[in-house]
């Protein structure tokens, strides 16, 4: 395992795209960690300040203020926390349901497999945003949670399919056949032997999934399905900034969108790099 890790690292280091990706992801993670050091809190504005917001960048507000008086730069930093949490949580949810589903499906085969795969087909038959909007609308309270659930659920099919494919392949391997003949329980074989060796493709799909999750979540927030306007989230910031599109107040639109693009790009490049590193055939 450790050898493989070293190999993977070497492969990534050589791949320019993957290096950039890793750098970007670390950059965003750094933003998230640095957020508490931001000049202002995410929902802070001085209630006695009667200036005409939104204000352009200045020494007080490095990226200016938005229409409610919030500091754009600070919210950009705080937003990275929320974006990363959303992406990670959504994929965690998708993994939590998708991995067992795919694994059971692939390993058990037969009717179980059919059932799960039909369900996956049906979910994939929805344009993802339709399903996401429907799920998000189910929740009484509009916050980050409906978005996380919606994006997570929509991602389940991709993960389940990938896991199933890996498990199907692993099923035929020697060590599995050996374990079976030794009489180990299927569950044990599945979780102790098969899955750990499928980690690689799962990690790839998960990494790419995080990027996609962040992108979709921002889109749903932009449509207004997410948390209220005072939340420091990039999609929400773009929704508020949308009104100012003709006004030339670029600081309201460019930073938040660029942040999303950079973050997603990072995860995509990293995921691609991981895929190339873990599966040399897919060049």
């Amino acid at each position: 395992m450790r050898e493989r890790a070293a190999d993977i690292w070497k492969s990534i280091r050589r791949d320019r795209g993957a290096v950039i990706g890793l750098f970007l992801v670390l950059l965003v993670a750094g933003m998230a960690l640095a957020a508490p050091l931001a000049p202002y809190g995410p929902k802070y504005s001085d209630p006695d300040d009667m200036r005409d917001h939104p204000l352009p960048p200045s020494s007080e507000n490095w990226l200016g203020t938005d229409k409610d008086g919030f500091d754009v730069f600070s919210r950009l930093l705080w937003g990275s926390q929320l974006s990363l949490i959303t992406g990670l949580a959504a994929i965690a949810l998708a993994l939590a349901i998708g991995v067992p589903m795919g694994a059971l499906s692939g390993y058990a085969g037969g009717k179980v497999d059919s059932f799960f795969m039909r369900s996956v087909d049906i979910m994939l038959a929805f344009p993802s945003i339709v399903l996401a909007i429907a799920i998000a609308t189910l929740f009484k309270v509009q916050s980050v949670l409906p978005i996380i659930v919606a994006v997570g659920v929509v991602n389940i099919p991709t993960i389940a399919r990938q896991v199933r494919a890996s498990v199907l392949q692993a099923k035929t391997q020697e060590y599995v056949v050996a374990a079976r003949s030794m009489g180990f329980s299927p569950v044990r074989i599945l979780f102790r032997h098969v899955l750990p060796n499928c980690m690689a493709p799962i990690i790839v799909v998960a990494t790419l999934g995080i990027g996609w999750a962040i992108l979709s979540a921002a889109g749903l927030n932009f449509l207004g399905l997410g948390p209220p306007e005072d939340e420091a989230e990039w999609g929400v910031m773009l929704q508020a900034g949308f009104k100012y599109i003709d006004s030339g107040k670029q600081w309201l639109l460019v930073p938040a969108g660029a942040a999303i693009a950079v973050t997603v790009l990072g995860f995509n490049l990293l995921g691609d790099g991981l895929r190339k590193a873990l599966d040399p055939r897919a060049r």
Binding site: G41, P47, K67, D68, K140, D230, D246
Partner: protein, 536 residues
Amino acid sequence: MRRIGSASVLLALLLGLGACGSKDGGGGNDHGIAIEPVRITLSYGNNSRPYMPSPSSVATQVAIALRDVGFDVTLDKKEWASYLQMVKNGEHQMALLGWSADYPDADNFLYVLLDKDNAVPGRANNISFYTSDEVHERLMAARNTHDRAERTRLYHEAQEIIFEDCPMIPLVYTEKAIAYRKGFGPLGVEAMSHPILRLVTEPVDGTLSYLRGQDSVRLDPGDVSDGESSKVIEQVFDTLLRFKPGTTEVEPSLAISWTSSEDKATWTFQIRPDVKFHDDSPVDGAAVVNAFERQRDPEHPHHFKDGAWEFWHGLFGFVKQVRLGAHPMEVVFELDGPAPPFFLGQLAQFSSSIPSKAALDKLGKDFRSNPVGSGPFKFVRWETGVSIHLARNDAYWDGAPKLASVVFRNSNDPTVRSRRLRTNKDADLIDNIDPETVPQLEQDGDIEVARMPGVNVGYLAMNTTKKPFDDKRVRQAVAYALNKARIIKLSYRGLAKQATTPVPPTLPGHNGSIVDRKRDAKKARELLRDAGFGKK
């Protein structure tokens, strides 16, 4: 495995930081009085309303102000259907809402919003659930007298009590604004209706393109309640009385004169002679009786069963019957008691329009998309979802309008409407303007913006049946925390006036001598501390 381990550590770190980061952060002065955060939820409906075009913005500003004095505010954004249900049931702690006048009288604000009769969970309009007997007595007394001075006194007292008890905080009286292209005019904002297009004198024989938010729902005056329908109805129909342009005073329209009995329970109206509907049938007593009876009587042949008939109960619940008088051009209203003081104003509302009886007989339900009235403009055609076309009524009794035609189109997004007026130039008149685009419009040399104080109020309601708002001190603390001027500046872009009482200043009965509480963070904290929320 190790990778997963370090990933989860990172995740935990992030979550932890995120949790403590979003709490307070950056700035703030506690004036030496530490408060144990008072957890409250501020709910709001995320749809644009005439009294509050940007509820999310108002909510954000309120939250900013309240956090400054020790409240821990969570915003609860809801879409309108869920929101209405929630506030009418009293499930909220603190909510943003407003009211636009149905008729120009203080009663329409104070009774509806703050009388205990309206504090019934499930159907409440009094969403503070404020049940003051003192206020109730005064409001009832004011309904039962026609003495203006007496009514004013009673309403003034009621407003003082309400101000002191602070069950809700009026925030703003929104200005109504329209924007239109130079070369069209005169166009003005009306208090109780939409712009009166028959008054437009130029361009002579021109076409006015009115770009509004949504298509009308239906064009049956007795059976609509939405502004987009009433907008069109007001141009196609006449009412018995109408408001003098620019005022809330009434003047004769289809009724040329009226008298009432001693006890004010019977009112007789004389109908203007020689007026015809657009289908050439005459405007007479029978048509007027029809207009009202079809709303009142569920068994009336023109009372379509699938209609809502919203306005009748609210406006004319006290009307027993409307019938022909001594001759065909005379109509009598029989009431179940003395007419409320705002009776005549209600007869000027669009729901009191007079449709052609002959057309209703002939078309039945199809009348809803083929309205026939006696108004300055005739209905031509309606492309559902796209446009409604009206043409000049050359035989209009008050003089044919100068405009040859009017086209109503719709675009949902207020930002887009402003753009279409300014940039695309394919709209001539817009209303319900996005306040944030108003400065641009005002600066544009080709565009005129007309503004006028609306007869409405936007307010912050606190549910007095729930903690912590059952304590008057906490409510007053909220009042001292707010910076209404900032809300007007940032959320209304100046298109509103600061409100002190629920009754708009355009109405008689508004108590102008109440001095609003100035923002005082220290005082707010003191009140909270007195209410028991100081840090131990």
